[in-house]
Amino acid sequence: MIPRVSYSMGEKGLHRASPEANLLLLLGFLTAVLATPGVMVKLGTLALVFILAALSGERLRAFLRSTRFVLIFAAFLFVAQVISIREGETLFSIGLTITDQGLLFGAQMALRFLVILSSSMLFVMVTDPDRFAHSLIRLGIPYRYGFILVLALRFLPFFRQELKTVREAQQVRGVSPSIRNFSGLRKAIHYTFLPVLVSGLTRVDSIAISMKGRCFGLHPRRTTSQESHWGRMDWIVVGLFLLLIVITIVARRYTWP
């Protein structure tokens, strides 16, 4: 169930923008879905996320596959809201009462969730974590915190691979417990999450040791040898950010549906 998200090298679209610009765009997406009423802006923002993903070389099918878990959870959120909200005009009743307010809130909630997750995933896919860390340091964030983020991004694909390997090891040793009863479920958790967790913690320890062994933390500051060049794509991304902010202000002012 770990979403298949990790940075992939590329030359198209948002890959060419600097991490600062991509972060700004992410903030734009978040502002647009969190600060606007109705579903129109949220739908438009979601469409923009998918268009930018396609323009950045993330094939739509692969991107959809990556967001499959998010889509399923968003659908669950929608259904939960629709059947639990009783306010508003009743549209129809089939044992459960479905109201217009329920549909609206459900759609809003699901869209918010979808945009937040899919835009964050797009950001991770197109932003080189190392360059991002350097950008954060340039922006004045202490470098220790910048690198915590880099490590967090590095660990997503690691955990995914480790989970796959643990399942293979279970298959080979014939210890794949059935989860039909409580004892099987407990065993499954024990045989799956414990090795992944231990392996992850061991890897964290190894990298921490390796970083110390490379003088990390020796000085209060560190050299940032990567220059950041503000290019045409950065200006385009800033333009998109401003557009999202203007749309948010207008949508709030005129209460767009």
Partner: protein, 483 residues
Amino acid sequence: MIAIEELCIQYPDRSYPAIDCLTETIEGGEVIVLTGPSGCGKSTLCRALAGFIPEMIPAKVSGEITVDGESVWTADPARIATRLGLIQQDPDAQICTLNVWQEVAFGPENLCLPPDEVAARVEQCLAFVGITHLAERTTTTLSGGEKQRLAIASILAMAPETILLDEPTANLDPEGAQAVFNLLRELRDQEGRTLIVVEHRLAPLLPLSPRVLVMNKGGIVTRRATRQHEDLVALGLRANWLRADWDLDLPAPGKRGEIAPLRVEDLTFGYDGTPLLDRLSITVEPGEILGIIGPNGGGKTTLLRLIAGLEKPIAGRIVRNRESVLGYLFQHPHQQIFERTVRGEFAIEGVISDESLRRSLDAANLSGLGSVAPLSLSLGEQRRLTLATTLVRDPDLLLLDEPFIGQDRANVAWIIAKILAARAKGAVTLLVSHDIPLVNSLCDRLLYLGAESIIGDPRTVSARLQTMGKDAFTSGYWEGETR
């Protein structure tokens, strides 16, 4: 200068010390080869010298270690690292970034060097280890050999006076190992660095005129400055750690019930459109031991995974008896460990009584470790544990991926005995290993997986590899190691 005085280190879950009252002095510019049997404390000593114990790896310590007069107990490991760089056994565990250039720059950037100086050091070190062409590559796409060179370049870029290398060739194919030995020679000749190398293969290090420190049970039992190989071989064999020529007398393969041969027919497989195995066909008879050799990334592990059913072939098929009991030893043993104690690992396989557990542990040279957390064992011990639990099932198809890494002579002998016992019962064994002399002695046939596949008896395959210029994959190339 490094001074170690009455050093004692004991890990929290062990009843005996990993380092036991060790005293030694290492002068600047010396080349030290640290060797000895598995679990004798070599890696612990390296970690202590680098200042990681007890600061980052908890352990009870006493005694003193000073690097150029400064105690490692009180100094920040990051400060020690300016003078002493440790290249660990597993290169994967020490890569901190996602890009080769940035990885080498990571250390100099932490030293606050000016950007121009960082760039100059990166270029120089990449060139020195011969991976300038990989500068823009993502670190996750590198082969094991490339990662090891990257790890060396990353430490060199910080220009420490002393470089510690913990089994730098353990995961490398024979050609990769030779390249690392050549690098060490250049480091000594051109840079005059102090080198401390943990290594089992001694012959390639002899031209460096090393001082050999033989460790056993946490202490140094022999100190010898030598260029005489015979001298070292005698020493190693006496101390029961050096791998010797295995002049094995293979017993006749046994037959067991209805075990059918393993048949691989026109097998084709690749990752992301890159072909790895191309229409490979082999048949392995019951009781046969097939050795699989070849360069890192040549498809050896992939073939085992395909046979185990963990990958699906693009074309072709694998025919094996559906009833056959599979025993598969992964290359990284920690991935096959599920329980919190060694005893628990055996319990999964149905070994519950104290007596049978004790027998299994004694046989695998893991005596007294029943209540220890398996992941706290050394890599060599973990490998023996996973092999011992695998063998409890009495498999008739045995897939072994690098079982000899981190094992000394006595433990290799135990693994060989187990493989031969499986052969005598008629089991099919596929053995992946970079230990070329050993696979030549132990296996009925060899399969070389590289740019092309070669299969045949060891003599024929070696002759063919020699004509292809792949000398490092022939046992004759490593003869100096044991004679």
